[in-house]
Subunit: 213 residues, 2 copies
């Protein structure tokens, strides 16, 4: 398998964590979003959506990080990335989508570039925008964690699931953009728990970037 | 079951289509996003994310339309809303997420309100923004449809799936905001096919609004 990847893309970061958790071998092919490599004619043929990640498999290419993760989870069921119980599974997907739909799409590079190129929104204002959606999403996420039936090491139990895989790259972005995590102690706890795991460590943007250079 | 709903929310519209396809009875409770009812203290307790839809079940509340739809599909497997084959299922989820992550979050009411209230972005500019993300997403969606191994009536086969359930509310929004669908003939074909089905007809915002008033 080949993963079209960019070290700082949080959607690609999710897939790297998953591949590591599943102990799957893959070849990473960097697509520099900063240099606009996602818009090249070659990449368009692989992924018409012109984003990363994109997984190249024996069947063809697959885009959208959550679709990739669920696919890998179905093909390689251990360790399971979703709870078995339908209701718990639904809650886990809901937390994941809270990150993937309500926070990340507003804060990705394509959007930040638009704000600047089309409307000349400056860095300070862009960071207010960035923090606004992060705060709103993380407040809901923390609320969910607070109302779990019992405390667990990770978002949805004592092993990492899709929800942790979505949360950790978003926390990386939050820290990178000086977002204050003090009001979110449960998110911080989960971040610390994930940081202990090699699968998360080896997927970290700094680590990936360092290995490459 | 109760569905906290808003007739023009395309995420809620997806869940209405699903409930109709599965022939499930539910009570719709309107939450007016225009009047800010999603920010009330009562609703916050039900859905800390302060968005619609939210499904109230015997186990508690569940938010995020895609999590709700997959949950209903697991509990009530007929008619199936995802292909059985893992690769086809992954492609179907990928198309759905293209709408749910790459288009819809940028064009929803909360975002359009922010652009106006914080930066005084006017209607004309907001529509350029709206069309920009729609065009980019629909171009990728149409490309996917064009490269199907064989033509089918719906996005992923000859019955509606999650991908159609996500696409149709986005087409409704596109039409509402005068987006030119001429470059997207395959999306138009699928829209016409879905329009023939009672489950889609009865979930349409105009129909829901009319029934209520």
């Amino acid at each position: 398998m080949k993963l079209y990847d960019y070290y700082r893309s949080s959607a690609a970061y999710r897939v790297r964590i998953t591949l590591n958790l599943k102990r799957l071998e893959y070849e990473a092919i960097p697509i520099s979003l900063l240099d606009g490599e996602q818009f090249s004619e070659n990449y368009l043929q692989l992924n018409p959506n012109q984003r990363v990640p994109c997984l190249d498999t024996e069947h063809g290419t697959l885009s959208q990080s959550l679709a990739i993760i669920e696919y890998l989870d179905e093909l390689h069921p251990q360790p399971a990335l979703l709870p078995a119980d339908p209701w718990q599974k639904a809650q886990c997907r809901s937390l994941s989508l809270l990150i993937a739909c309500d926070i990340h799409p507003l804060n990705n590079l394509a959007v930040l570039n638009y704000l600047n190129s089309e409307w000349q929104i400056q860095q300070t204002e862009k960071m207010i925008w960035y923090h606004h959606w992060l705060k709103r999403g993380f407040t809901a996420f923390e609320h969910h964690l607070m109302h779990r039936t019992m405390p667990t090491d990770f978002c949805c139990g004592d092993t990492p699931t899709l929800a942790d895989i979505c949360l950790i790259p978003q926390v990386y972005n939050a820290l990178r953009f000086d977002f204050d995590l003090t009001p979110f102690p449960l998110i911080q706890d989960i971040h610390r728990a994930c940081e202990q795991l090699p699968a998360f460590q080896q997927a970290h943007p700094d680590r990936v970037h360092q290995d490459k250079t």
